[in-house]
């Protein structure tokens, strides 16, 4: 069990190295995408800087808190797509039958397929998330360690959502635009203080649009250094990942029986 864990770590490293090397074939494009994403995220942070210079608090949350939301979300999203870039585009892979290549390997399809690509701009998100947290929040050692752990948890949420959204393609055909919209909604809601939302919307934000597990619980854990919130966030992440893996394998069985809507023999 431990050996398989180590083996998988080795594989993750090997894939990530291969991905980085592939990106470095076009260093200019890679760097410009990273920088553009940093600037993009930075623009939003600047907005909040302006906002809080005028309004001090929002539902009791100040600038460092909102920056924390941004940092966790950006870093989690960045890690997810820098390492498992195919979580962003599972749908086209399935539709175009590229699963077959992964199915010909003696390994579990899902993790290997996910590891097969790295999105350059995601590195920008990851760098930004960490830099913003360190610069604006100035955490102590305990919080920094917790931040690192929680960003990996958030990454798992994004990977899980990507798998779920992509797996829809097993059932309803090309769902990539739906997947993109869903992802954008999650990212959006994750970057606003949860206190803004009440009632039914709040429930939504812990289920269909799980911003709650992406950033709300992690940031609450960081604010009050609470182990309870931290474990809640991580458990939620693992739960989402487990559900998504199950849905994927359900869809994979369908794929393997050849009864996709768009099949050409």
């Amino acid at each position: 069990m431990f050996r398989t864990g180590l083996d998988y770590m080795g594989l993750v490293v090997a894939y990530t190295r291969a991905n980085i090397r592939a990106q470095m074939e076009y260093p200019g494009a890679f760097l410009s995408q990273v920088i553009a994403m940093i600037i993009n995220d930075g623009a939003w942070v600047m907005f909040w800087v302006f906002f809080f210079s005028r309004f001090r608090v929002l539902h009791g949350w100040g600038l460092p808190d909102v920056i924390s939301l941004w940092s966790v979300t950006a870093a989690g999203f960045g890690i997810a797509n820098a390492i498992m870039g195919n979580s962003l585009q599972l749908a086209p892979l399935i539709i175009q039958g590229e699963l077959d290549v992964w199915l010909s390997h003696p390994r579990a399809v899902l993790p290997h397929m996910l590891l097969g690509r790295s999105v350059p701009s995601a590195w920008g998100d990851a760098v930004f998330g960490y830099a913003a947290y360190v610069f604006f929040v100035r955490p102590d050692l305990a919080r920094m360690v917790l931040f690192i752990i929680l960003t990996f948890g958030t990454a798992l949420v994004f990977v899980g959502l990507g798998i779920l959204a992509g797996s829809l393609s097993f059932f309803i055909g090309n769902a990539s635009s739906l997947a993109d919209e869903w992802r954008n909604a999650v990212v959006m809601f994750s970057t606003y203080p949860p206190a803004l939302f009440q009632g039914a919307v709040k429930w939504l934000l812990f289920s269909v649009i799980p911003a709650g597990f992406v950033s709300y619980m992690p940031v609450e854990a960081l604010r009050s250094l609470s182990l309870m919130y931290a474990s809640g966030a991580l458990l939620g992440a693992l739960g989402i990942l487990a559900v998504s893996a199950a849905v994927f394998h359900c869809g994979l069985r369908r794929y393997e029986s050849g009864n996709l809507i768009s099949f050409n023999g």
Binding site: A29, S32, A36, I39, A43, F50, F51, R54, F189, L196
Partner: protein
């Protein structure tokens, strides 16, 4: 005179074909709804702890309607930068270089056609959403006239900005990042969410003189709280910016074309 009708025709055709892009429009309307919803919650919180119904002279209803106008502007941006980049990439630009002036005007016609239709659609959607969230605002004929009058130059300036970004494809491998930076800068420095009055006092004089505020803030302001003084100030800024932009575009275009001819197209 014939030339102008030709470009007018291009604008009309583009406008008509653009109505077919229903999917993208729908997506953006959903995005607009989410943004309006989220920020209605934000302003509720802010105004909730404010003494009195006005902040920087605006009521909460006006703040939400302000966002309608600025979002409609933001969402209706043209794809000119991408089209110019494609022209450069595919070498099509060499053919169109025979009449450099017509090259810019062709893109202008296309962009304006797109812009006007999309802006109208998003304004309409925004009106419906804002009516549901915040209730109606009291508009005056003169106010609406000022709103409509401030738009043409705003659109033109934004087109020139996008066109300039596209021209950079002569030097850069990909202008994707640059386009993102340009749009972010426009929104951040132009007052997409916060009207100029709410920016840090130290920054306001500079920001008001930049063209971005005259593109984003000015229409928004005319829509919710029209003021002759602000109108004229914005209008002169637009005019001045227009001259500057035209000079820059002219110079860059000349340099770009020289590059094409020296590289053999």
């Amino acid at each position: 005179m014939k030339e102008i009708t030709k470009y007018g025709w291009i604008a009309y055709i583009t406008a008509r074909s653009h109505i077919a892009y229903a999917g993208e429009v729908f997506t953006r309307i959903v995005l607009m709804t989410v943004i309006l919803y989220v920020f209605s919650r934000v302003w509720l919180a802010v105004y909730g702890v404010n003494s009195g119904p006005r902040l920087a002279g605006l009521t909460i209803t006006q703040m939400i309607w302000y966002l309608v106008a600025t979002e409609a502007f933001a969402l209706s941006g043209p794809r000119t930068w991408y089209e110019v980049e494609q022209d450069v990439r595919t070498g099509r630009v060499a053919v169109q270089l025979i009449h450099p002036l017509s090259y810019g005007l062709t893109h202008l016609g296309k962009a304006m056609g797109e812009r006007i239709v999309r802006f109208a659609i998003y304004m309409l959607a925004g009106v419906v959403i804002a009516l549901a969230i915040a209730g109606p605002l009291r508009w005056t004929a003169s106010g609406l006239a000022m709103f409509l009058a401030i738009l043409p130059l705003a659109f033109l300036l934004d087109f020139l900005g996008h066109f300039l970004v596209g021209l950079c494809a002569f030097w850069l491998e990909s202008v994707n990042g640059l386009a993102l930076i340009y749009t972010r800068a426009t929104m951040l420095l132009g007052g997409l969410i916060l009207p100029m009055e709410m920016y840090p006092a130290a920054l306001q004089p500079t920001l008001r003189r930049l063209p971005f505020a005259s593109m984003v803030y000015a229409p928004g302001r005319m829509f919710v709280d029209p003021s002759g003084a602000v109108f004229f100030k914005a209008f002169w800024t637009q005019a001045a910016a227009l001259i500057v932009f035209l000079c820059i575009v002219g110079a860059v275009q000349a340099a770009a074309f020289k590059r094409v001819f020296s590289n053999g197209g």
